[in-house]
Amino acid sequence: MTTTTDVAPARVAHRARNARPVRRLDSVFVLAMVLLLAFQVQGPIRRALSVPVMQNWMTVFVAVVVQALPFLVLGVLLSALLAVFVPPSFFTRALPSRPAMAVPVAGMAGAVLPGCECASVPVAGALVRRGVTPAAALAFLLSAPAINPVVLTATAVAFPGNPRMVLARFAASLLVACTMGWLWQRLGRTEWLRPPAHPSFDGLSKPAAFWGSVRHDVMHAGGFLVGGAMAAATLKAVVPASWLHAAAGNPVVSILALGVLAVLLSICSEADAFVAASLSQFSLTARLAFLVVGPMIDLKLFGMQAATFGRGFALRFAPVTFALAVAASALAGVVLL
């Protein structure tokens, strides 16, 4: 605390000497004030939060953030490594030059990133900035959280009686990822993909550029992760579970209902199979929709995609991904389950 309070007045004085107009409050100063204030009023805050529904909300909120943070940091490190230490020429050699061929190759490459969706967003962002065809990077973004060995093993463990569930999840997810890649190649426009300006680290030493990229991505994606976690905790704490059971009767409604539930709950793709397994009043196809939609689009992912690729992109990309994922699950359910 002492360092922050020392820095703030020094900076203000420094600015004043240079006769720069100070329009905004210095953020270190604001941060110090907010922290001090929070410690001052912690008693009343704790009392206000002691009702069961608020405690439940807080626990789920903290749990989503704490659980996703290591994977986010992992993805951010990987993305900074790609951005700083891997030359762009590596990707042009590794991927087929024809975008139509690069999409399935990138989709399959998703199988080697052993993490959940929080790690794949920053990595895909780095791929685009390194000159990889956006279509291929998007296929990677969608397939990586769903078809990696960790997630497929968890699916097999959660559905001991239905080994075909693993195959159906793999096939449907890869199908959606490649279709989205090809769709982007045919219909996508570059101006939709307007990533919020990423600071350029040209002219900096490699370690400086590396840590600059880590800082930028953690602050960016971390903030949106918190927003998504708040939304997910609100839904979990407010919507009664009995609503779902009304939807289980109709086969079409049940697929849609579990697709929407996957979006709202924002569960990590390494854990969603166990939740799907417990929704036993739903058909296997509906539960497959839950497993295919969840890793591709949910509330916290939407926030992170908007942070990485721009809001205009996320608003177009999310509904198409959702529709395709539901359709592919229904198809895989009919053919494989």
């Binding site: 922050t4 600015r15 410690f39 704790r46 529904v53 439940n56 789920v60 903290v62 659980q67 939740v275």
Partner: protein
């Protein structure tokens, strides 16, 4: 948000994560297996904070002058978005409030997550034999108590009541984090203590009974246990059970 403010925030978030994973606090929110990853993430955040301060300090004075990350450097109009301020919320939640593990409120809102276990291995030695709530419930419902016989078993969980006032012994099952936690419930019958508070942790010794109920939320089967003895115990460090326990 200026670079210095970002460094302070990363340091505080990293520190809070480290503190939570060095104590048992993290067990309220995530599974045990995530601890090494949490420690790594905390350390990386602290290093990133230190690196931010270090490189900011080393930057030539001309570019550092007065812009403090507001992005006038090199004619590059970049500024960290306001959304970064949201990172203050989990920080406050972790260090000021530290919300408790999921309790009877969440347990009774969700249906029992009991599923058919892989098999029913012979009970380990011990009198009474210590079993997890999930293990007892699986044997009672799907093996009809055959592998339990009339041996006394000891299970630990917290107390929750349904709307009709029936007491249950509950453990939440966790796969990854508390957002995917689901309850497994055992109904209490026999010599149940006359006064029970919800969320009290109980160690129950009892035997198998054929009595069963249906969970009103998802119509799942809830077995009962014939209680012989029940005593309050402190909450265990890890309040959750995992599949396979």
């Amino acid at each position: 948000m200026s670079r210095q403010a970002q460094a302070v925030l990363m340091l505080l978030v990293g520190g809070a994560v480290l503190r939570a994973s060095l104590t048992d606090l993290y067990l309220r929110y995530v599974k045990v297996g995530l601890r090494p990853l949490l420690l790594t993430a905390g350390i990386i955040l602290v290093i990133a904070a230190a690196a931010t301060v270090w490189y900011d300090w080393r930057r030539p004075r001309a570019t550092r002058d007065g812009q403090s990350g507001r992005g006038q450097h090199g004619g590059h109009g970049h500024r960290e978005p306001r959304v970064s301020w949201l990172l203050l919320l989990p920080l406050f939640a972790l260090i000021l409030v530290a919300p408790p593990a999921l309790d009877s409120y969440s347990a009774m809102r969700a249906g029992t997550a009991l599923q058919r276990p892989f098999g029913f291995p012979t009970l380990p030695a011990g009198d009474p034999v210590q079993l997890s709530v999930l293990n007892y419930a699986g044997r009672a419902v799907y093996d009809h108590g055959r592998s339990l016989g009339d041996r006394p078993v000891k299970v630990t969980g917290f107390v929750a009541f349904d709307s009709g006032g029936t007491p249950y012994l509950v453990r939440m099952l966790l796969n990854c984090c508390a957002a995917d936690a689901q309850p497994v419930k055992i109904g209490l019958t026999g010599q149940v203590p006359p006064v029970l508070q919800p969320d009290t942790w109980l160690e129950v010794v009892g035997t198998y009974t054929t009595e069963q109920a249906r969970d009103p939320v998802n119509n799942g089967a809830i077995p009962f246990i014939d209680v012989r003895q029940a005593r309050p115990v402190p909450a265990p460090p890890d309040p959750y059970e995992t599949w396979g326990s």
